[in-house]
């Protein structure tokens, strides 16, 4: 099964081509550069190098967020329109899950972190139990200070992963002490090959997304909506 995986949901841009559990190509940049300009030329180049045509693709996997609103829309719109144009299935994968999955073998809980400003983070809780990968704490936006209280309750080691962990590392260490574990720079960003792999698993278990309805997981309302709702309450 030939898979195209795309991620533009954070400052990381990733594209991967996979087939039969083999990663043929993977490009990752971790730059705050324009995803809109760079995404499609890189996809074109990878197809050319791997010698595939768009028609060969059987599945599109895309990072659905959370992350940058504008960024995630570029990847999601590209992916769902590509799937629509070629009549192939689409699977969305949580950016946080992709980030966590790199540490599949970690014994304990995994908390992927994407900064959401004003002391907030996008995060969730993942764990592999007897080789079964599980999402044990839903993706959410939460104040980091509240989140450390939540995970401390688990009374187990928690691995914090993501480029943005550095922004909060001090606070995490203060709150959690020895229970907090940190990752390495090479594993700090979501990899598109993992998004492709997780996408394939989802598809095999029949969990494909509806191409038409599919939208990013923003995890929060637009600011104008929040203000409007507050005004209604009076």
């Amino acid at each position: 099964m030939k898979i195209l995986a795309i991620d533009t949901s954070t400052s990381v841009m990733g594209v991967a081509l996979l087939d039969e559990n083999k990663v043929y190509a993977e490009v990752i940049t971790n730059l705050k550069k324009n995803h809109s300009i760079r995404l499609m030329p890189i996809i074109d180049q990878l197809f050319h190098e791997v010698n595939w045509l768009p028609n060969d693709i059987d599945l599109i996997a895309v990072a659905k967020g959370p992350g940058s609103y504008t960024g995630v829309r570029i990847g999601v719109t590209t992916a769902k329109t590509f799937a629509w144009a070629l009549h192939i299935p689409l699977v969305g994968v949580s950016t946080l899950e992709a980030l966590a999955y790199e540490h599949y073998h970690f014994m304990g809980y995994i908390s992927p972190i994407i900064d959401a400003r004003r002391g907030q983070v996008y995060t969730g809780l993942y764990q592999s139990n007897d080789n079964r990968w599980e999402n044990v704490g839903q993706d959410r936006i939460i104040l980091l200070s509240d989140w450390v209280d939540v995970v401390r309750e688990k009374k187990d080691k928690v691995l914090f992963i993501g480029d943005d962990v550095t922004l909060h590392r001090e606070k995490i260490e203060q709150a959690m002490g020895e229970a907090a574990v940190f990752s390495y720079p090479a594993f700090q960003f979501p990899r598109p090959s993992i998004i492709g792999m997780l996408g394939e698993k989802r598809m095999e278990s029949g969990k494909i997304d509806n191409t038409f309805d599919f939208t990013p997981a923003y995890l929060q309302l637009a600011e104008a909506e929040v203000k409007w709702l507050e005004k209604q309450k009076g």
């Binding site: 324009n34 809109s36 300009i37 760079r38 995404l39 499609m40 030329p41 996809i43 074109d44 180049q45 197809f47 050319h48 010698n51 595939w52 045509l53 768009p54 609103y69 504008t70 829309r73 570029i74 999601v76 719109t77 590209t78 992916a79 769902k80 329109t81 590509f82 629509w84 144009a85 070629l86 191409t211 038409f212 309805d213 939208t215 990013p216 923003y218 637009a222 600011e223 104008a224 909506e225 409007w228």
Partner: protein
Amino acid sequence: MISWKKEMDLNKSQRNNRKLDGPINILGIETSCDETSVAVVQDGERILSNVISSQIDIHKRFGGVVPEVASRKHVEGINFILQEALEKADLKLDDIHAIAVTYGPGLIGALLVGIAAAKAIAFAKRIPLIGVHHIAGHIYANHLVKPLQYPLIALVVSGGHTELVYMEDHLQFEVLGQTRDDAAGEAYDKVARAIQLPYPGGPHIDRLAQKGIPSIPLPRALMDDSFDFSFSGLKSAVVNKLHNAEQKGETLNKEDVAASFQESVVDVLVTKTIRAVDEKRVKHVILAGGVAANQGLRSRLKEKSVELGFDLTIPPLALCTDNAAMIASVGYFSYLKGDWSDLDLNGIAGLPLPKDK
């Protein structure tokens, strides 16, 4: 396999040596503001479908378009609208020759959704991608009514722009003048708010103006040799008059305020258009953009066209507001010219009209 880019370059060079046979179908995509629209247009003039999904009801409660909300809605709707446009045109994606998409000016987040969709289709189906300027689109809305005759003067007025454009031939735009501050439509919305009319205010002011008398003296800005416009002073003058009246315990008749404001706007727009017609010696004037629906502006331009003997084209309402058919029409001429875009096409919020494109 050769890359998409190489293949397009080859297509382009081969096209130049070959006569085009059969009709050319262009799929247009427009998401620059709060309308998600997809259209299929044949040979730049025949609309096979033009699906427009307006978000106006969603933005009404905010009193204006909220960019983040608009961008989210575009992503939610884009594939439904693509599908509907193909079905209404009774075509398959394989029947499409090229994808045309608005790449500016407009709300950047909103533009990027349309552009991402356009690129994905162009790449997946290995067909050309064509970036189109939104104002060029408004002008070409007229080509869908009646073939453009050159040279011409186009007056483009909408919520986002006020421009006077001279054209000698297809895709050759010379901007004679534009607004130095607010767009005409923007001034309409602001004045409407000042007299407590709902958003969007343009149609309401137009309706009230028909019943009122333009009895309140208001300024006409930049009535010198310049073709540029300015409407923010006029808007402030209206607000001041309302304020002064209120302080004196008087109330101005809303209909008269609307009529006086509209009179001033129409006066400036028409006077400058006529002077451009005269200076450039053209026989054809076209009106474009959302404000082209305005009755006051339409009837004054019609009077002048009879009096001075020039042809006037005003598109029907559905083609005045943002739509993808107008983008596909421009796309057709760019397609013929080989003026194609690369996959690095980006959205540009403040894109100027290309002089010779």
